[in-house]
């Protein structure tokens, strides 16, 4: 953690959830006549006023293309965009801003690694190791790579609590393992993976390590150097920023040695019809005009999170998770799916004899937004022998009252379908 972040945090008053809620305009509405209870932040988090204002300010005051113009607006926009990159660097604990490639989000970041580092370094007979917890975005890019290269995708299994079997993970590592990609926090179950330990094991086997941090960044302080990973994929929209703005952290030495991905403007240093030379990192991986307003607003979102304090948010959410776990565990006929010792932000559950889709529709009529389905993690569902779950996911703006409303809503569902 940077000392500046600690200093900011120390200056803050205790966490005041009502004050936090007032910063989210979208929460001031009713749905089907009931106050909105938003429990779907694992899919995408709502935006505080500071982020909304930042996007508007860019468009109203200094919007322009970046890295190109000599005119005033272009200079201002470029500065703001590069400041946002520096904020992402600080937020992820990276050493240098050039290690931060600004992209659409974690999915694009994972695909970038697969298509550049992966295509260069993974060959026939090699292996890529993931876990049974992964989101489709941390499965499919590696499947595509393995298929193209004649490599094998190996999967470390998870246990009944939804924790990765570390012994199996270790056994699956071998000299053939070129790359390991694991989620920091599972989106479907909320399991926090021991990524530092996994990184050490994977590095000992000579593999490069990618962490899918989409679900972790809103809940945990991330420090890529402490984790020791080679790449870290990050989505802004889950950490109260805009959708379509995120980043890939990559160790500078690796990024420099990687071929570019997409070709186009901004990623080159010179182009002739005979030969093109690549721009330096991170611009080599940033072809085309990026999400300028979104990127700048992502910086505002990270400022906002730091102002509220990630430790305070984590403590608040931990209280909610415990309260919610106790409330839901007390409901007969409800089974929590994903009971790892280390969890963040997710209460996934099934109800005896009642399909999650019906749960979701009835809860919607109580003003409660939850996600129902496979959460883009079909293998996780298969592991538990269920087609789908209902998932309530937490953010800093949720309250114990939200969870009590959820528990009452679930009892209504049971009355209706019981």
């Amino acid at each position: 953690m940077s000392t500046s972040r600690d200093a900011t945090r120390a200056a803050l008053a205790p966490f005041d959830v009502e004050a936090v809620r007032r910063e989210f305009p979208i929460l001031r509405q009713t749905v089907h006549g009931k106050p909105l209870v938003y429990l779907d932040s694992a899919a995408s988090a709502q935006k505080p006023q500071a982020v909304i204002d930042a996007e508007r300010e860019v468009c109203e005051v200094y919007y322009s293309n970046i890295h190109r113009g000599v005119h005033r607006l272009s200079v201002l926009a470029t500065e703001a965009y590069e400041k946002a990159r520096a904020k992402v660097r600080r937020f992820l604990g990276a050493a240098e801003s050039r290690e931060i490639v600004l992209l659409r989000g974690a999915t694009e970041a994972l695909n970038l690694v697969a298509q550049t580092w992966g295509r260069r370094h993974v060959g026939a007979g090699d292996e890529v190791l993931i876990t049974g917890l992964e989101h489709h975005s941390n499965i499919v890019p590696w499947q595509m790579l393995c298929e193209e290269k004649g490599a094998s995708l190996r999967v470390a299994p998870i246990d009944d609590a939804g924790e990765v079997d570390l012994r199996a993970f270790e056994r699956l590592l071998s000299p053939r393992t070129r790359l390991v990609s694991v989620s920091h926090v599972s989106n479907a179950l909320g399991t926090i993976d021991p990524v530092k330990r996994m990184c050490d094991l994977a590095h000992a086997a000579g593999a490069v390590v990618v962490i899918d941090g989409a679900q972790a960044a809103p809940h945990l302080a991330v420090d890529v150097r402490e984790i020791g990973c080679d790449f870290y994929a990050f989505s802004g929209h889950k950490v109260y920023g805009p959708s379509g703005a995120g980043a890939l952290y990559g160790r500078a030495a690796l990024l420099e040695a990687m071929p570019p991905w997409q070709g186009g403007g901004d990623m080159i240093s010179s182009v002739t019809f005979e030969k093109t030379t690549w721009n330096e990192i991170p611009y080599k991986f940033e072809a085309g005009t990026p999400n300028i307003t979104g990127g700048i607003a992502l910086g505002a979102a990270l400022d906002w999170v730091e102002k509220v304090g990630l430790d305070a948010i984590a403590a608040h959410e931990d209280d909610l998770l415990r309260h919610g776990t106790a409330l839901l565990s007390g409901i007969p006929g409800l089974r929590l799916v994903g009971t790892a010792r280390e969890k963040a932000g997710v209460l996934s559950f099934v109800l005896d004899g009642i399909h999650p889709h019906d749960v979701g529709t009835v809860l919607d009529y109580e003003g409660i937004a939850v996600r129902t389905g496979h959460h883009c993690a079909q293998p996780v569902m298969d592991r538990f022998g269920i087609p789908a779950t209902t998932r309530a996911s937490l953010a800093c703006f949720n309250t114990r009252g939200d969870l009590e409303t959820l528990a009452r809503g679930i009892r209504k569902v049971q009355e209706m379908f019981g």
Binding site: I354, H355, H357, D358, V362, P387, A388, M416, F417
Partner: protein
């Protein structure tokens, strides 16, 4: 809750809790597996067709109350129908759950008990739940083995 009851009619809840014709059929000569990849719902429809007539029809699978009730009521409605009538019912049902209110009204009149699914069109994300068994049945009659709502 009144809107919600438009969707979850008592008869739909009854069929979802106690589905009719919920069994595999060894003597089936047509079958298809249906899948809604969005929610993971699965339905297998079995038909025994003799000449031009659906002699028997049943289903297995797992799904929400809407898809289970839809499958249950579909199997009741199809027994003894000609293939042409089955196709026509499919079209009417499709109109009911997806089409504009004017066509839905006509469809509703021709569908009898199945008209209880009229409320589904107010819930766009649930239309595929209701139509999955029907798409699967149509695939089975067409000689296909798989149906999907996508």
């Amino acid at each position: 809750m009144s809107d919600l009851r438009e969707l979850y009619q008592e008869v739909i809840l009854d069929h979802s809790k106690h589905p009719h014709n919920f069994r595999e059929m060894a003597e089936a000569n047509r079958r298809a597996d249906g899948h809604n990849p969005l929610c993971g719902d699965r339905a297998t429809v079995f038909l025994r067709v003799e000449g031009d007539v659906v002699r028997d029809v049943s289903f297995k699978g797992s799904g929400c109350s809407i898809s289970t009730a839809s499958a249950s009521m579909m199997t009741d409605a199809l027994r003894g129908r000609t293939l042409a009538e089955a196709e026509a019912l499919f079209a009417r049902f499709h109109d009911l759950v997806t089409a504009d209110p004017s066509r839905a009204a006509t469809a509703s009149a021709e569908l009898g008990k199945l008209a209880v699914f009229a409320g589904v069109h107010e819930f766009p994300v649930r239309v595929k739940c209701a139509s999955l068994p029907w798409h699967t049945m149509k695939a089975a009659l067409a000689g296909g083995e798989k149906a999907t709502t996508e």
